[in-house]
Amino acid sequence: MEYLQKPVNNLSSYSPREDEKEKASNGYLMSVIAVMAGLPLPIINLLASILFFLLNRKATYYVKWHCTQALLSQVTIFFMNSVAFGWTVKIITGNAPLTNTYLGYLFTIIIFNVTEIILNISAAIAVRKGHHKEWWFWGALTNRLIKPGKQ
């Protein structure tokens, strides 16, 4: 469903409608649920976020912006987790040694994954309440990619 809306220049001061809040919030929740369902396969959460993003590509600027932010964070985590997955398979099959470097990487991505889950949950709650949540780096990247829509 496509919505007509007034051009949005500042998301911080924008008051989203109830359905916008719900959709934008679901974008983050989708990531969290998919991460939990998809681990340790790194592709599941990315696919879920892409699907949700595509379903909402014609949505309002507010919804699209938050879906994109959620997707971009998933892409970053996807690359990190893919390396860990490939590395783990190599170790399991005896093609790589189990080293402190590998375990250091594993614990690093655990930190990043947990942080990302916490960020997603907090963003889902904040966005559901109508507050704009712009993450460091991913928020700036989203601003570069998603421009305010025209009426």
Binding site: V89, I92, G94, L98, G104, F107, F137
Partner: protein, 264 residues
């Protein structure tokens, strides 16, 4: 754009800093992971032995086991290969086949032993499979088997998945480079052990001759292409030197009798 680039650099930099910082900690010591490889090999062996029903279908005759162990010891010890890492099973199966499985397991079907004219032919087949194991071919193939990765991660003891992967692994589809490498290693192992490698070439010739007559028993050769070329390579690599018998005639007759009785 500049702000975004700075944020990206800080983000990537913090990731690497955390990684490098955590990598300095002695995780392997804390997690007692030094024995991980040995434990993994043992676990893998157990899974495959269980999946294949090896305890029920391998020859349990102690005398036969001792004869096979003699061949293994002769090849391994001379070539400084840890004998504890190689496990040879004589598998009751009417198909002429021998293959290596993860965990250093080598399966030799009774039908293959029945087709060997002398113990050196059998030693050649075993040396070839040891060559695959020592070259890491099994591990390389396993990496390609995504199904196995999933099986190991989600259900290490899921026999249904393991059996599907086993079917693929036991087909012995190594590529030509890997076959040549295993053949070359086999000739080297045999020569070092003072075992004549030429019967190995004769075995390839024999299988090639049999191909048209008994297609159903030619699995081993059909999955190992260019047998004539390979026989020629083995002859080319073999050097003229003094070779001694790998096992006594009586032991060989005992082994063959045990195999033929199962596959008359």
């Amino acid at each position: 754009m500049k702000k975004l680039a700075i944020q990206f650099i800080v983000f990537a930099g913090s990731f690497f800093l955390i990684w490098m910082g955590l990598a300095q900690l002695p995780w392997t010591k804390w997690l007692h992971a030094q024995n991980f490889s040995a434990k993994r090999q043992k676990a893998m062996s157990d899974v495959f032995i269980k999946a294949y029903g090896l305890k029920n279908r391998s020859i349990s005759d102690e005398e036969v086991k001792t004869i096979i162990d003699t061949i293994k010891q002769r090849i391994c010890i001379s070539n400084k290969i840890d004998t504890a890492t190689i496990h040879i099973y004589i598998y009751q199966n009417p198909e002429i086949n021998a293959y290596s499985l993860p965990g250093g397991n080598i399966m030799v079907n009774t039908a293959l032993i029945a087709q060997c004219n002398n113990p050196e032919m059998l030693a050649g087949v075993i040396a070839h499979e040891i060559g695959h194991i020592e070259s890491g071919h099994i591990k390389k193939r396993m990496v390609k088997e995504i199904a196995l990765s999933v099986a190991m991660l989600f259900g290490g003891d899921n026999l249904g998945i393991i059996k599907t992967v086993l079917k693929e692994l036991s087909s012995g589809k190594f590529d030509r480079t890997q076959e040549t490498e295993a053949d070359t290693k086999a000739v080297h192992y045999l020569a070092t052990a003072g075992v004549n490698p030429l019967p190995m070439a004769d075995f390839f010739d024999k299988l090639h001759r049999l191909r048209g007559d008994t297609p159903e028993i030619m699995e081993w050769i059909s999955t190992h292409p260019n047998s004539i070329e390979r026989a020629n390579l083995i002859r080319k690599l073999s050097s003229k030197q003094y070779y001694s018998a790998i096992i006594s005639d009586s032991s060989w007759h005992r082994l063959q009798a045990a195999s033929i009785n199962i596959n008359p």
